[in-house]
């Protein structure tokens, strides 16, 4: 691996870089393999549009992997958009295929017989694999962790040498400490845990809610769409709740320097701003449900 050539083989930095490179390559290979498998299916059950599009996906993914591998910072945003697009395509294809199996909405049968194959998603299981693989790829290049650390280091960005007590963060202590007691720092840790657990619970609730909504669309379309919308809102709410977890946990793990507290408050603020939007949508969906019930008598 290239990390070995440039860094001291026994240092924690070297180990971290090797882990980062391994994770990045694994995620990239999984994404690439998922496209190969789906395109091969398009070749076996011959669909020219699916085959062409699948081949383009393979080439596009190869291009982005190579670009990212140079460490270029400007490659990350387009690659993230590309991965997001691939996830959306896989999700649409899988939804249409599953709709045919479970009979959620008969109006989508016609398009469901054509579109998944044309999008190069002829198999629901492989489609789920593609969505998961690109999800991992997207996570590895956008979220702070070994893979992104490796890419940033390779691109020549100034990154802190990581260790168990100083993970790779851009927050540097200012020297001004807010002297919190052990009990008080424990409360910050408690908040981090509550955010994390609530995030996972809301994501699960959103996932099931969206499935139930999808099922209801066939029998009661308006209520079904409302339930689907609520499910999606809960799912996004769960994802957003996870964003400040690491920063809030830093207060316990790295100390009570105001830089860490300020960073935690910034991340909480950013989360709350998104919460406002989601709560607004949730309330609007509630109003929609109320109107539907009143109109229907």
């Amino acid at each position: 691996m290239s990390a070995t050539a440039t860094d001291n083989a026994s240092s924690p930095l070297h180990d971290y870089l090797v882990t980062g490179e391994t994770l990045f390559v694994t995620a990239a290979v999984l994404a690439f393999v998922s496209d190969i498998a789906l395109t091969f299916r398009s070749l076996v059950a011959l669909n020219w549009i699916g085959l062409t599009l699948g081949s383009l996906f393979i080439l596009g993914t190869l291009f982005f992997i190579n670009w990212l591998y140079t460490g270029a910072k400007e490659a990350r945003m387009p690659a993230a958009i590309w991965a997001g697009l691939q996830i959306a395509i896989a999700v649409i294809g899988v939804y249409l295929l599953l709709n045919k199996t479970f009979g959620w909405d008969y109006r989508l049968y016609k398009i469901g017989a054509v579109l998944p194959q044309a999008l190069s998603v002829p198999s629901d299981l492989l489609g789920i694999f593609k969505a998961a693989a690109y999800g991992m790829f997207l996570y590895s290049i956008t979220q702070r962790g070994p893979a992104l650390f490796y890419l940033r280091h390779k691109g020549g960005e100034a990154v802190e040498v990581p260790s168990p007590t100083t993970p790779p963060e851009d927050v540097h202590p200012t020297g001004t400490v807010l002297p919190l007691t052990a009990d008080q720092t424990q409360k910050a840790n408690g908040l981090a845990s509550a955010l994390q657990m609530a995030g996972f619970a809301l994501m699960t609730a959103g996932f099931f809610g969206a499935l139930v909504g999808g099922q209801r669309i066939a029998t009661a379309p308006r209520f079904g769409w409302l339930a689907l919308g609520e499910g999606i809102v809960l799912l996004v709410l769960g994802v957003i709740a996870l964003a400040p977890v690491a920063s809030v946990r830093n207060i316990k793990e790295r100390g009570t320097d105001t830089a860490y507290i300020g960073d935690a408050l910034t991340k909480l603020g950013a989360m709350v701003n998104k919460l406002v939007l989601l709560a607004l949508v949730l309330a609007a969906l509630g109003v929609g449900g109320l109107i539907l019930r009143l109109v229907k008598g």
Partner: protein, 122 residues
């Protein structure tokens, strides 16, 4: 008794705290409204003879409670921004309030996930 007037936060950090307080002030009533609407919808369903509406009431209650806790968090964050020299207490109170709100959302999430799972099985 002398009051401490020094602050440990930089002007940028104070702006961040102010933004957090403002965000919480907007988010809290919306969660409260979303929760109350769920309770009302459950009530309407029950009134129409659909006893399944009962299930929406605890969920609405939890959402509304999360809204109330966020409202308390908004006040705590405002104190954290405005009152100098007592940052520790107000910071911990802000964390506590947000923690309470998200614990309510955690229970809400588990409850909704359970209901969704049962719906899928039926």
């Amino acid at each position: 008794m002398a009051t401490e007037t020094t602050t440990t936060f930089t002007p940028e950090q104070s702006t961040t705290i102010n933004r957090l307080s403002t965000g919480l002030t907007f988010a809290a009533p919306l969660f409260l409204l979303a929760g109350l609407l769920r309770v009302v919808l459950g009530g309407i369903d029950i009134w129409k003879g659909n006893w399944g509406g009962l299930l929406a009431i605890p969920a609405g209650g939890l959402l509304a409670f999360a809204g109330l806790a966020l409202l308390a968090g908004a006040s705590d964050a405002k104190y954290l921004h405005d009152v100098k020299g007592r940052e520790k207490e107000h910071l911990v109170n802000t964390f506590d309030s947000i923690n309470t709100a998200f614990t309510a959302l955690l229970i809400f999430g588990c409850y909704e996930a359970f209901l969704g799972f049962i719906h899928l099985l039926m």
